[in-house]
Symmetry: C2
C-alpha cells in the first residue's frame, strides 16, 4: 500500500520507466494503446509524481512561499486568512502549493526567508507588510528570486505589486468626516517603518491641511494593528479634555478596538464619536454600528497576486505588473455629524452600504418594475 512510483507502474504494465514517464506527461511518441494501459494503471495505483524527484530534475518546486507577518504572539488579523484563501484557491487551480511560515518567535524574519529560498523550497514568494528599505526585497532581488508584493516598496521601482491607493482612501474618509462637520479628527496609525503607514498618514494629513485644519500631534496615536492596541490608543485619545469627535484608524481591527474604547467610555459610536477603518474585513460589516471603511477585495487580490507570481515564475509576460487600485470607501453608520449639531446625527442607516467606488444601478431599476 505504499505510494506508487514510476517503477511500480513500469513493473505492472511491463513497459520501461521512461515510457511510463512519457505516457504520463502526454508525449506524442507513445502508442495510444500503451498510453491507455499506463494511464489505467496510474489511476488504479493512485499514482502521483514524487515531487522531490521532479524538482531535482526540473528545478521547479511548484510551490510558492508566504510568511505570515507576526507582531507578537496573538496575531490574528482575519485579513490574512482571506488573503491566504485567495492565494490558495488560485494556486490549487494552477496546480501549485503554498509553503507557509512564521517568523517564529524571536528569530529574525529575514533568516526565515534565507532558509526557505536557500534550501530551494519555493519558486517564488508573496510579500506583505513591507517596510522602508525592506531587507527581504533586497535579498530577493540579489538572489533573483521571483516575488510579488501586496503593497508597495521603496527600494525596488520595478517590483511587481498590487496595492490599493490607500492615501486616497484615507483621504476620502477623512474628507467625509470634515464634510460632516468634524474638526478634531484623531488618527490611530501603524508603526512608522511600515510602508503603508506613510501613505495612510499622508492621506489624513492632506485632507486636514487642504481644509484648513491644523495637524494636532496629540491627536495621532501609533498602534500595532491589533484590536487591543486600537482600544488602548483610543482610550488615550478620548481621555483628553478636548477629545476628538472622530477617529480615523488605518485598519479595521484597530477601528474595532476603538469601538470598545468609545463604548467603554460611555459614548456612542457614530454619534458622540465617529470611527472609520480600513480593509473591509467581514467583522467591519457586522459590527455595531457597521464600520465605515475602505473595502479591500483581499480574496480577489490574493488570486491576482498569485497569477502575477505564476507568470513571472514561468517567464510569461505580465501585462500589468504594478497595479494600484482605487479605494472603495463604504460609508456606514459608524460616522455621523459631530455632537452639538442640530440635524439628526445618523446620516447613514445601519446596514445600508453607500458604496462610492461601485455604481449600483440595478436596485433603482428594480424599484421601477
Amino acid at each position: 500500500m505504499a505510494t506508487a512510483r514510476l517503477k511500480d507502474l513500469a513493473r505492472k504494465t511491463g513497459f520501461s520507466i521512461s515510457t511510463v514517464s512519457r505516457a504520463l506527461l502526454g508525449y506524442r511518441d507513445v502508442n495510444p494503446k500503451t498510453r491507455e494501459r499506463i494511464l489505467e494503471a496510474a489511476r488504479e495505483l493512485n499514482y502521483y509524481p514524487f515531487q522531490a524527484g521532479k524538482q531535482l530534475r526540473s528545478g521547479k518546486t511548484h510551490t510558492v512561499g508566504f510568511l505570515i507577518p507576526t507582531y507578537g504572539k496573538r496575531f490574528s488579523d482575519p485579513f490574512f486568512i482571506e488573503l491566504l484563501s485567495g492565494i490558495g484557491d488560485m494556486a490549487s487551480t494552477l496546480d501549485y502549493d503554498i509553503l507557509v511560515g512564521t517568523s517564529g518567535g524571536g528569530g529574525k524574519e529575514i533568516e526565515a526567508y534565507r532558509r526557505i529560498v536557500g534550501s530551494g523550497r519555493v519558486d517564488g514568494l508573496i510579500i506583505t507588510r513591507t517596510k522602508i528599505n525592506d531587507e527581504r526585497i533586497t535579498y530577493l532581488l540579489e538572489t533573483k528570486t521571483p516575488f510579488v508584493v501586496l503593497g508597495r516598496v521603496n527600494n525596488a521601482p520595478n517590483a511587481p505589486f498590487i496595492d490599493i491607493d490607500s492615501k486616497a482612501g484615507i483621504k476620502q474618509l477623512t474628507e467625509k468626516l470634515i464634510e460632516l462637520g468634524h474638526r478634531r479628527i484623531a488618527l490611530i496609525t501603524s508603526p512608522n517603518e511600515l510602508i503603508f503607514t506613510r501613505y495612510r498618514n499622508e492621506g489624513y494629513r492632506e485632507a486636514l491641511l487642504e481644509n484648513g485644519i491644523e495637524i494636532d500631534e496629540t491627536l495621532i496615536a501609533i498602534g500595532n494593528l491589533t484590536q487591543e492596541s486600537g482600544r488602548q490608543c483610543a482610550l488615550e485619545l478620548l481621555k483628553q479634555k478636548n477629545r476628538p469627535t472622530a477617529i480615523v484608524a488605518v485598519n479595521d481591527l484597530m477601528a474595532l478596538g476603538a469601538y470598545s474604547a468609545v463604548q467603554q467610555s460611555g459614548l456612542e459610536i457614530g454619534k458622540d464619536v465617529s470611527v472609520t477603518g480600513y480593509d473591509g474585513i467581514s467583522m467591519a460589516e457586522n459590527a455595531h454600528p457597521p464600520l465605515t471603511t475602505i473595502e479591500v477585495p483581499i480574496y480577489e487580490i490574493g488570486k491576482r497576486l498569485f497569477e502575477i507570481l505564476f507568470k513571472i515564475i514561468n517567464h510569461q509576460k505580465v501585462e500589468h505588473p504594478q497595479i494600484l487600485l482605487p479605494p472603495k470607501p463604504v460609508f456606514r453608520a459608524s460616522i455621523g455629524k459631530p455632537p452639538g449639531t442640530n440635524n439628526p446625527s445618523h446620516t447613514f442607516k445601519t446596514g445600508n452600504d453607500l458604496s462610492v467606488g461601485e455604481k449600483k444601478i440595478k436596485p433603482k431599476l428594480r424599484r421601477i418594475l
Copy 2:
C-alpha cells in the same frame, strides 16, 4: 550569485563533496581544522542544504501539511490564523515548514489530500473540522501517513487528537442561561456532518432536559459557521412570535452574527436577548457587549498539535496522544436575566471577565492591602 551547493563548498575548500557533507552534519570523523574551514565557507556562501536532494535520500520532507477548510469562498474564521500561527511557530522552532492548501474551489477535498500525500510533499498532516466517518482519516490510516487531529474522529479510536470537551462547554453555558431564568433558549448550530456539532448539540440538549425544559425544534437553526449565517439564523429565530430570550451559538463568529440580527431587530444584547459563543476569538472579547464564550487557547493548541505530530513522525513516544481539555467558560455582559425579571438585568459588567476555569485569587488579596 546562484545558491551555494555542496559542490561549490567542495570546490572552494578543496575537499570532496562527501567530506563537506560529513563536516556539515557534524560527523566526528572529520579533522577539526577541516570542519572549521568548511563551516566557514558555508557561512560565507550562505549555504542551505537543498531540500529536494535531502528528501530524495532520506525520505523526509521536514514539512507538515495543513489544509484550510473552506465553506464557500469568503471563509475567514480568525480562529485558523491563530491556529496556524501556533503550528507555525512551533514548527519553525523544530525546523519544519508548513504546506498549506485549500480545497480549491469546487475540487473535492479528499483529492487535495491524495495529491499532497501521494506526491510525497509532507511527512504528516494536521486535520481539522472532522466529519462523521471522515474519508480523510480513512485515507491517512490506509497510507500510514502520520497525522494529528484538532477535534475528534469517530472512525479511528486510536487517532491522536487534542480537543476541548465542547459538550461540557456548551452545557455549562446553557446551564448558566437557565440559572439566569431563561427558558426559551435557541441554538445556532453547525452542519450535522461535522463531528463537533454532535458534542455541542448534546451539551445543549442535556442542559435543557436535565432542567426539565423540553427541546423545541423550532428554536434550533443550522448555520455554516460564518458570521453572515449566524446573522441569518438569528433573524429567523427572532421573527417568531414567542421569540427566544437567549441564543447559544456553537462558535463565536455566528454569535457575533447573531449580535447584528438582535441589534438590527431593535433589541439589546444581554438584556432583551442573551447570546453565547464558542472559541474565544479576540473579537469576542472586544465585541459590544463582550461575548460570553468558551476560551479556546488555540495558539497553544496549535503548538501542541505540532509537537505531537513531530513525535509521531520521528517515532518518538507520545506520552498523551489523546488530550481532552476541560472547557473554560468566560461569562461576559452578553448574557443577563431574561426581560421581565425584576432584578437589574446586567449581571456581568462590561469588559470584566469572570473566568470559571481559572482561579483568580490575586485580585482579592490586592483589595485587602
